[in-house]
Symmetry: C2
Subunit: 238 residues, 2 copies
Amino acid sequence: MPSRLIANIETSGPLSADDRRAVASLVRGARRFQAGDDIVTEGQAQPHCRVLLTGYAFRHKTLEDGRRQILSFHIPGDVCDAQGLLLSMDYGVTALTGCEAGFMPHADLEAVLMRHPRVARGLRRMTLVEGAIFREWMVGMGRRTAYARIAHLFCELVVRLRAAGLAQGDRVRFPINQTHLSDALGLSVVHTNRVMQALRRDGLLSFRSGELIVRDWPGLQQAGEFDPGYLHLTASSS
Amino acid sequence: MPSRLIANIETSGPLSADDRRAVASLVRGARRFQAGDDIVTEGQAQPHCRVLLTGYAFRHKTLEDGRRQILSFHIPGDVCDAQGLLLSMDYGVTALTGCEAGFMPHADLEAVLMRHPRVARGLRRMTLVEGAIFREWMVGMGRRTAYARIAHLFCELVVRLRAAGLAQGDRVRFPINQTHLSDALGLSVVHTNRVMQALRRDGLLSFRSGELIVRDWPGLQQAGEFDPGYLHLTASSS
DNA sequence: CGTGAACTTGAGATTTCTCAAGCGGGGTGG
DNA sequence: CCACCCCGCTTGAGAAATCTCAAGTTCACG
């Protein structure tokens, strides 16, 4: 069932049939969520980790006065709250589309980590890649203009979705709106809107109702100073 | 020797004498670095991970045109490049003061992770806390003003250094200058300077030649919207 | 046909940046 | 011992990026 999760784990090296079986039986009870539902609520402890099976979601931290920072976007095969295994949850995860998420009971997960070192290593690698993406976002928010930041995010999404086989050529269906975009990039909606217009005007992309079409891939990469290395999509290590 | 590292690992639960011995014999050859030296060079693969034993350091990504983003500050007991074990290094680590760093050969580290689950869990927890700090910085850069961002960073440093026993009451010796500060917070040096003056004027802190004195701790926390939860300093889990 | 969400526009206010220069102390060569 | 120099801090002033508020538009949907 959780074949995308298994594929993710295997980027750090192939699993044995037994490893795969262990992961498969670890993931239970797929539950459906509607767009906008909380999959994981900020601050609330859970006895299991959630794995996204289908659909999209995003992680966020929300301040008291409503300011929100989106921390990452999740695609099928991502573990939403690996953090919950050892730490309290300091962020929430919300469904971006209707989606299905399975869960992995913490105790069982611990047992698998213990008995299946290749699985443990794969999950470790996934956590590290996640950290690498956080760092790249930090560079964007700290040191890139709005124009470059938006271009960069779109490059990242396109590359990730392509790698997961969820893109159709230069076209990607990814249902984020300009509010999500602003919250992910630390911009106001108005400014995001204006910069998006500039990106369109410059012929780099089209974007409407959740569908992104890349019109000029080299141009978009250049505008976003995008180098996909940090996504560590190739199976090899250093 | 690497007692601070062991203490860090133990926040996720006590180690056995055997575990501790394993960690101790894993860490080799302390090497000295001068302030400004690269401890880990961006993009360069290494056969070992570096552990900071004494002194301070910081992680950063540097773009071609010189823009730099500081990603985190390291204190004794931190592993600088756990990432290198499984992924190529997409950031560099530079000494902030003269410091000593030991190394843990990757192969030996893998072996310890395999044979000492409590150590593995401790390191896993350390990686997760690191991620939590990244996320909090993202919130700062995306959604907080310069004033709050600076206050927040100082709160974080004070709390971490206190927890490590490296603070003297409300006084903390931490040798960063305003350039480091700007690069960590995504600000220009000029603006950082002006906001620092405002923080002093408001009676929240004093800061000169690498020494920070907190003058009004509740005020500083409030100004930075600081809640230490994300640092996960208490030993317990969720 | 009415409604709401998302997108767009205008205009003025703020924040933050850039450039350019001056200041001050510690270290060094003469 | 002094002059000089460099680094980090500070200041001024104008420019650019980005934000806020407020309103208008579009489009899908019931």
